[in-house]
Amino acid sequence: EDQVTQSPEALRLQEGESSSLNCSYTVSGLRGLFWYRQDPGKGPEFLFTLYSAGEEKEKERLKATLTKKESFLHITAPKPEDSATYLCAVQAITGNQFYFGTGTSLTVIP
């Protein structure tokens, strides 16, 4: 069964304190792994797609990496505006569905 587990559930960081969010996945053949950001009361906003182990993508203070079993979202020198819930999702080769984790709620304290 395709499954996505994110950790930690919640993370509080001081501004400038770098850290990583984890997304572990089980899928019968990975077509793609996706990271989203979600602000309260809004829909998820697309950040990255990763296709194969070893791939990395960067955007401002965020860098996403992928291995055969997990993905990390590294946040370097975060700012308060990075506070949000970060969601991870996978899509299997065999289907059109996306399976989401329950997210990591990030709070960056000034």
Binding site: G32, F34, K42, P44, E45, Q91, N96, F98, F100, T102
Partner: protein, 113 residues
């Protein structure tokens, strides 16, 4: 923002009444999805469509039906709303074959009393 509009944005309805939520896209994307989001469960797929009149069930489809008569519109119907269907509903669209990302609407908050 991707051209996705959900309506209504908020709705309060009574148990047992039918409810229809609408998702409208201006991107001409082939795939459209309906998800619900609940605390502790994350986003769960209700139904999705891979073309006009082509739909399939997701993991939480019981009590829901969908229709897509035009590329741009995907309707989600709760035939007889129950309190367990109180949730935030999101529509998403995806462009085509392969691992293309999905883009989400702003959501509809539905409360069944």
């Amino acid at each position: 923002d991707a051209g996705i509009t959900q309506s209504p944005r908020h709705k309060v309805t009574e148990t047992g009444t039918p409810v229809t939520l609408r998702c409208h896209q201006t991107e001409n994307h082939r795939y459209m999805y309906w998800y619900r989001q609940d605390p502790g469960h994350g986003l769960r797929l209700i139904h999705y469509s891979y073309g006009v009149k082509d739909t399939d069930k997701g993991e939480v489809s019981d009590g829901y039906s969908v229709s897509r008569s035009k590329t741009e519109d995907f309707l989600l119907t709760l035939e007889s709303a129950t309190s367990s269907q109180t949730s935030v509903y999101f529509c998403a669209i995806r462009g085509g074959q392969g691992a293309d990302e999905a883009f989400f609407g702003q959501g509809t908050r539905l409360t069944v009393v």
